[in-house]
Subunit: 128 residues, 2 copies
DNA sequence: CGACCTTACGCGTTACGTAACTATA
DNA sequence: TATAGTTACGTAACGCGTAAGGTCG
C-alpha cells in the first residue's frame, strides 16, 4: 500500500469516477492511475469501484469506508509536511568565532568541517 | 514521503532510539533504516532525532510532533487493511447454471470467460 | 464510431542488502 | 577495542509513460 495509490483513489472519486480526469488533475498518465487503483484493490481484497464493463459506475460499500480512511491519511500526511514548515527556521542563528591567526589557520578548518558535516543545513561560513 | 519511512521512524523511537534493533524488528537491514530515516528528515526539513556523533540521543521537539502524526497515519493504514478483512467473504456465493448440451458446448465458454474476467476472484468453475 | 478503461512493454528511478568506513564509549 | 551509525555500491523491483487492445453507449 502506497500513499500515492490513496491519492489516485481519492482523486478518481472526486472527479466523478473519471479516471482520465483524475490522471490529468494529478499530472500523470491515465494508465498509471488505472493500474495503481487496481493494485490497491487487489492488495486490500476489496472492490472499491463498481464497474460496468470498462466504465466506473459507482462506489461499493466497503469502497466508501476505504475512501474515508484514505482521506484521513492524506490529511495527516499534509499535516506532516506542515510540521516541517512550522518549525523551519527555528533552529537557525549565527555563530561568531574569535581566535588568533594561528588557530584560525591550523585548527579551525578541521573543526568547521566537522561542524558542517554534523549540521548539513548550515549555509554560511565566512570570515569577518 | 513513503509509509515505510514512517514505519521505520516510529520503530526506531519505539526501540529506544536504537536503529539496529528497529531494523531487526522490521526484518530488514540496518543501513536501510538509517538511510530512509535520513531521507524523511531531509524531505520534511526537520531533524527528528538528536544525534551525538553517531548515536541517537533524543527526540527533538518537532520530532515529537512528527512521530505522533506518523503513528496516527500508520493506525489508519492498519484500519484500511482491516476493512478488507471485514468485508471479505461478503461478496461470495455460488452460481449454478443449467442448460442444454449445445448451449454448454458453444455459448457457455465465452460467457464464462467474460464473467471470470470481470470477477477475477471467482475461484471455481466446475461442471456438476 | 467515439469515449474511456485496461493490458503490454521498455525505460529510468528507487529501495534494499553487503561490504567497508568512522566515531563514540 | 567493541559497538553502533553512516557511506558506497551493485542489483533487483517498482512506478511511469507510450502504444496497442477491448468494450460500452
Amino acid at each position: 500500500m502506497k500513499l500515492q495509490q490513496l491519492r489516485y483513489l481519492v482523486e478518481v472519486a472526486r472527479q466523478g469516477l473519471n479516471v482520465s480526469e483524475a490522471a490529468e488533475a494529478l499530472h500523470t498518465s491515465q494508465p498509471g492511475v488505472s493500474k495503481q487503483v487496481r493494485l490497491l484493490e487487489d492488495e486490500l481484497g476489496i472492490t472499491v469501484f463498481e464497474r460496468s464493463g470498462k466504465r466506473l459506475t459507482g462506489i461499493t460499500e466497503p469502497g466508501k469506508a476505504v475512501l474515508e480512511i484514505s482521506e484521513r491519511i492524506l490529511r495527516e500526511a499534509d499535516n506532516l509536511k506542515r510540521v516541517g514548515e512550522e518549525y523551519a527556521g527555528e533552529d537557525t542563528g549565527s555563530l561568531n568565532i574569535a581566535t588568533t591567526h594561528t588557530q584560525a589557520r591550523y585548527v579551525l578548518p578541521a573543526v568547521v568541517s566537522r561542524f558542517l558535516g554534523r549540521w548539513p543545513k548550515s549555509p554560511h561560513v565566512a570570515p569577518g
